[in-house]
């Protein structure tokens, strides 16, 4: 009698088979990545709109695991305009961090691979397609033109180096040509002052454990800003911090962004932070963008049932409700995604058309786009 296995159970033989198939795909992709002397023509492209700093165009990032292929990012497209802040919201596991890691080429290789799509990065004089950029070229961009502020200031600093050394390393590597040690130190102190650290000379010689969480996050921000990047990715920059410290850090980010005129891609699950910081909002669910638009579009006319549910499930200070709305069910298994709308099983506003394939993007206005069958009647032409 065949033993009954829970859903998603694999025998060792099946797992081996999958892992062998995966290795074949990843080896090929890795080989392609590791080529030397790739001609620039292969990865230099044109922006669709030169006003944008980053354009994600139908990005697919998959993880080839032994249990199957996880489609973490499955056709994500959105833009980050120059000098603006774009907020990316969604629950854990919806692919927001993987999207940003794809932009940094920091995916866990060889399992994580960008399969198709383009990430166009506007460097001013040139436009690079990050999905095709080789490692050598990427090393000049990462930390220089694009930099990242990580979620946990406790773990993103090296505990055995002094603060000064860690910031100087960035400057030396990307901006160090023709600069003496004194110049670099002066720049480092200047950065520390810029992020609001009063005792900058003292902090320069300190180790990370001597600083509080808010101070450490300031150091991480200073490091990210060291080379005046075009794009700053802030991956949950304030989640680990208290509200009062969070207010300080958000204030700081906003001011610095204007000072060096860069764009911010802000990843968070806190809708309050998004409302305060973002000009544009992208709502992600299970690896896809379900709704995007300006902050006013999203907060005043949330259209996708998931966005509506997300907003109703968070208590708001000053608004009393008897019971919080909770979205029923849970996110579908990322290995076995259904072929209909991913949100259908949890949605309370389903209509008949929802049984069809995944809905395409509908424009509600020039800026506001949503992927839901309920708005198909507003589709202009076809």
């Amino acid at each position: 009698m065949a033993k009954k296995h829970p859903e998603g159970y694999l025998t060792a033989k099946e797992a081996r088979k999958i892992s062998k198939a995966n290795r074949k795909i990843t080896n090929e992709l890795e080989k392609k990545r590791k080529r030397k002397n790739v001609p620039e023509s292969e990865y230099v492209t044109e922006m669709k709109n030169p006003e944008n700093a980053v354009e994600f165009d139908d990005l697919h990032t998959y993880f080839f695991t032994d249990a199957g292929t996880v489609k973490s990012v499955d056709g994500v497209s959105f833009e980050v305009p120059i000098g603006k802040t774009v907020g990316v919201v969604g629950e854990s596991g919806c692919g927001k961090s993987v999207t940003s890691l794809s932009l940094m080429q920091l995916l866990q290789r060889p399992h994580g691979q960008i399969l198709s799509g383009a990430i166009r990065l506007n460097l001013g004089d040139k436009v690079y397609d990050i999905a095709k950029t080789p490692q050598e070229a990427m090393q000049k961009i990462r930390g220089n033109q694009v930099s990242m502020i990580f979620q946990e200031p406790m773990t993103s600093l090296n505990p055995v180096f002094r603060i000064g050394e860690q910031i100087e390393e960035v400057i030396e590597l990307h901006d160090g040509e023709g600069k003496t040690k004194e110049d670099i130190k002066a720049r480092c102190i200047e950065l520390l002052e810029q992020v609001g650290i009063a005792n900058s000379e003292g902090v320069y010689n300190m180790y990370p454990h001597e600083l509080s969480g808010g101070m450490r996050q300031r150091i991480v921000i200073a490091m990210a800003l060291a080379c005046n990047p075009k794009v700053i990715i802030a991956d949950e920059p304030t989640t680990a911090l208290d509200v009062t410290i969070q207010a300080q850090i958000l204030d700081l980010l906003r001011n610095l962004k204007d000072k060096i005129n860069s764009s911010i891609m802000l990843i968070t699950h806190d809708l309050g932070v998004i409302a305060e910081m973002a000009d544009y909002v992208v709502v992600m669910y299970a690896g896809r963008v379900v709704e995007k638009g300006t902050a006013e579009d999203i907060f005043e006319h949330p259209s996708h049932p998931y966005t509506i549910g997300l907003m109703a499930s968070k208590p708001v200070v000053g608004k009393q409700v008897d019971e919080l709305y909770s979205i029923p069910g849970k996110v579908p298994n990322p290995i076995n995604m259904p072929n209909y709308c991913y949100f259908k099983d949890r949605c309370d506003k389903c209509i008949e058309a929802c049984n069809g394939e995944y809905p395409c993007e509908i424009s509600l206005s020039e800026t506001h786009k949503v992927s839901c069958y309920r708005y198909y009647d507003q589709k202009e032409g076809k």
């Binding site: 808010g214 699950h269 907060f299 000053g318």
Partner: protein, 341 residues
């Protein structure tokens, strides 16, 4: 205003009399953790909880808010007698001093007071199946006769939104929200009267948070539970609490009815804390009081009012004189010189 003001002086400690409407009375509770120098000599103390006074009515929820390191969690643990002996003050649970009890009495009392821990990922034993985790204490304390044990377990799990077949699974097979349900089921299986919820939703996603908060509310109604809800998320605290206490550096700086606290915050720290909450409305006008610096070390707190180093209204008096708890409005207490006229 000052006519009816009651002044409680922390220096001359007066024990409180038991009032049957309160399930829990905490009076001038103190907990210091010693700092050991070389050769184990005591060189100082971290004043984690430094004179906290509040009363908790039966069947209500008190929210305890504050920044990290202000002593919220320690307060919860000291009330349950989970971190050794207290340093001073009183904890009356149903009129009995918790710290005067013998080991045997304490063991019985443990079924009445329970705690739900912050992190559902580290507070469940990875080597025990879920049924065992929830039922261990039920067996130990003999809450139900042996022949009813299985049914009782099913009923508890059902109440907390878990399926009976989950009993044989291990914690790693569950998602964060489900694990938190297991923690809640474990706490409620003993039929407690009072539960300390130590940041039960902080580690969860927004949509899961709502499920857990609704579950806690439902269980409170069904079982007439009393909660001490510790959290740094002010919007959650506002949703779930009846009374709210705001802590700063081991002191309860403001305490009162939820409506009073949120509508009319008195203490400068509370005002700053509330103004820092991000509101999910891009058009909301920001009238933010941004506090400078960060929380001072509790091992060496500032003299006088502990908040004077960051307070925008600090005067000379605040630097030297310790403020006392004042009843500014009926049932709304505040520890600040601004209201002591």
């Amino acid at each position: 205003m000052a006519k009816n003001s009651q002044i409680v002086t922390p220096s001359d400690f007066t024990p409180v009399e038991y009032d049957p409407q309160y399930i829990l009375m905490v009076n001038q509770l103190k907990k210091y953790f010693p700092i050991k120098g070389s050769l184990g000599k005591e060189v100082g103390a971290v004043k984690a909880v430094d004179g906290v006074t509040f009363n908790l009515k039966r069947g209500t929820t008190m929210g305890l808010v504050g920044e990290s390191g202000c002593g919220k969690t320690t307060t919860g643990r000291v009330i349950l007698r989970l971190s050794g002996e207290k340093t001073g003050g009183q904890v009356l649970f149903n009129g009995q001093e918790v710290y005067d009890m013998s080991k045997k009495q304490m063991r019985d009392l443990r079924t009445k007071m329970q705690i739900i821990f912050q992190d559902p990922f580290s507070s469940l034993s990875p080597r025990l199946p879920v049924g065992e985790i929830i039922g261990e204490a039920v067996k130990e304390h003999g809450v139900v006769p042996k022949n009813e044990y299985e049914d009782y377990l099913d009923q508890i799990m059902d109440e907390c939104g878990l399926q009976p077949f989950h009993k044989d699974r291990y914690p790693h097979e569950f998602s964060g929200g489900q694990r938190q349900r297991i923690c809640i089921a474990r706490a409620l299986a003993l039929n407690p009267e009072f539960v300390v919820c130590d940041e039960p939703v902080s580690a969860l996603d927004v949509s899961i948070q709502a499920q857990i908060i609704n579950l806690l509310n439902k269980l409170q109604e069904e079982r007439k539970l009393t909660y001490l809800f510790i959290s740094h998320d002010l919007s959650v605290v506002e949703h779930i609490s009846d009374t709210v206490g705001v802590m700063y550096l081991g002191n309860l700086v403001e305490y009162g009815d939820k409506k009073d606290i949120f509508k009319n915050p008195l203490h400068p720290y509370t005002k700053a804390l509330f103004s820092a909450i991000p509101i999910p409305d891009p058009k909301a006008k920001m009238n933010r009081i941004v506090l400078e610096g960060s929380i001072p070390s509790p091992a060496n707190p500032p003299a006088g009012c502990k908040f004077h180093t960051r307070c925008p209204y600090a005067t000379e008096r605040c630097k030297t004189e310790v403020p006392h708890q004042i009843e500014v409005e009926p049932g709304h207490y505040c520890v600040c010189h601004l209201y002591d006229k």
